[in-house]
């Protein structure tokens, strides 16, 4: 039984339908990647899981419960963390405060979680009192990731976490994701760094024009000629 089970989801913005019957599954401990052309609806799919789009049909189930149409702060209680693609830090809060916000729903800031985030991203420890808005693009990405990890979610949704990261950090980021995944958190990632992502994941989806186009193990997709040609740049 999948932990996250999206079935035949239709969603969009206002009157504009973007997703047409999208199916996604993420099993416990699984590492799943969504790739696809720009505008395919990848971000929209993620947002829909988190209740941020206009719902038009289908279901989203998490751990067997229906979470379709629930509000984000309820969903976060269920154990899903989400890092949006853009604008994913609070610019006028310090780095530390950003991380603390990640644990807002708890009564107290979990020091251990905070430490482990700092360990994963040492630069954040160094800059913990700097306004997040004045950090570089890549640093902000780290802040955002760190914030989502504060609650130690069961499922982490990452929208293009490697965009804008320096190569060493890209690798590190992928390592982090693997590590997070290895520690028992299921991950659903949208990536344009598709080859690397597919190499590392358990399973991948290719989304095109708001619908599923391919779905298979990462390696399989990676070696599929058609997929390579059309979506992975050859």
């Amino acid at each position: 039984m999948a932990m996250l089970d999206v079935t035949d989801l239709d969603a969009g913005y206002g009157d504009l339908q973007i997703l047409h019957g999208v199916d996604l599954e993420v099993a416990e401990d699984e590492y799943v990647v969504i790739v696809g052309p720009n505008g395919a609806g990848k971000s929209t799919a993620m947002k829909s899981v988190f209740g941020l789009t206009t719902y038009m049909g289908g279901t989203v189930e998490f751990k067997g419960g229906d979470i379709t149409g629930r509000s984000p702060d309820e969903i976060i209680h269920e154990g899903i963390g989400y890092v949006p693609q853009n604008d994913n830090v609070f610019p006028s809060l310090t780095v530390r405060e950003n991380l603390e916000m990640g644990a807002y729903i708890l009564d107290e800031v979990p020091e251990a979680a905070l430490e482990s985030v700092f360990d994963q991203f040492p630069v954040l420890r160094e800059r913990q009192d700097q306004k997040a808005g004045s950090m570089s693009g890549g640093q902000q990405q780290m802040v955002a990731m760190g914030r989502a990890l504060m609650l130690d979610p069961d499922l982490l949704l990452l929208d293009e976490p490697s965009a804008g990261l320096a190569p060493d950090l890209v690798d590190e980021m992928f390592d982090h994701v693997n590590a997070i995944n290895a520690s028992g958190t299921a991950v659903l990632v949208v990536e344009q760094n598709a080859k690397e992502a597919l190499r590392r994941c358990d399973r991948g989806y290719v989304l095109v024009q708001g619908s599923n186009r391919y779905e298979d193990a990462g390696e399989v997709l990676l070696n599929d000629d058609e997929v390579r040609q059309q979506f992975l740049g050859g």
Binding site: N38, Q85, E160, L165, A166, L169, Q192, F231
Partner: protein
């Protein structure tokens, strides 16, 4: 206003012998930018050759975007000079910079959300006569303006086709996806008829297939004589496409040279590439 006086434009020749000395399109010398306690750019010095494609890389927070901002007048540098085509352009206004033919794109796309893609692309063209209020209003001159607009629209459609976004022509730019916005951003920059483009991570978030095609376009443009300075984290991309690479680290230039040389430079490996390449 810079603290240091600009070097006379004639004596731009740099001391290091292996740098290209003639045909320098853009020269940055001793650039410094501080934000409160942080020195984001700390004496960055480099040159970009005309008609070249140069990569600007460096770890996150190295000061690449800030350097761009200082060059294009978004920020005023605290020290140092920026020279474009032999003219000192330190501290000029962003619009003047574009008038010089030096145009940048933003790391995070800045589309005019409520304007259609067409309007977005009609906007940048330089020296539009209709931008003078009276010309657009007076009936006699209006005719000229209309003619100009028609010509411009033609160019815009060419550009749309070039970037394969014709089908989005009448969409509001705000409804485009992240990648589409990047395309629009690039297309828009090109509509200014620039001589040099500063691209801040133009391909981040762009699907690889599209990226490949875009790069082909970039190469075509370079053939036509445009100069490119590209910030990018994708090392493969930099390796394959740039003839020179500048590596920034903690606000200053750590190394520069041909891609091959850079990737084997230990300091670069340590600071940026993470020892894997």
């Amino acid at each position: 206003m810079s603290d240091t006086t600009a070097e006379p434009t004639g004596s731009l020749t740099s001391e290091s012998p292996d740098r290209p000395t003639d045909d320098v399109e853009l020269a940055v010398d001793g650039l410094v930018k501080r934000f409160g306690g942080i020195t984001a750019v700390d004496g960055a010095t480099f040159e970009v050759e005309s008609g070249s494609m140069t990569g600007l890389i460096g770890p996150n927070g190295a000061g690449k975007s800030t350097t761009f901002n200082c060059i294009t007048g978004i920020h005023e540098p605290d020290a140092g000079t920026v020279t474009f085509q032999g003219e000192d352009i330190t501290g000029i206004r962003p619009y003047q910079c574009a008038e010089y033919g030096l145009v940048r794109t933003f790391q995070i796309a800045r589309e005019m959300a409520n304007m259609t893609v067409l309007e977005n692309l009609m906007l940048p063209a330089k020296r539009q006569r209709g931008e003078a209020l009276w010309r657009s209003v007076l009936p006699v001159t209006r005719r000229e303006v209309v003619r100009e607009e028609r010509e411009l629209l033609e160019r815009v459609w060419d550009s749309l086709e070039f970037f394969e976004i014709q089908h989005l022509a009448e969409e509001k730019a705000g409804t485009l996806s992240g990648g589409q916005r990047k395309l629009l951003e690039l297309a828009r920059a090109l509509m200014t008829d620039p001589e040099m483009l500063l691209l801040d991570e133009p391909f981040a978030g762009v699907n690889p297939t599209l990226e490949k095609k875009l790069l082909e376009h970039v190469h075509d443009l370079r053939e036509e004589g445009y100069t490119f300075l590209i910030v990018e984290h994708d090392m493969d991309l930099i390796m394959e496409n740039c003839e020179r690479v500048i590596v920034m680290h903690q606000g200053s230039v750590l190394a520069e040279g041909a891609p091959g040389a850079i990737t084997s430079n230990e300091r670069v490996i340590e600071a940026y590439l993470g020892g894997e390449v």
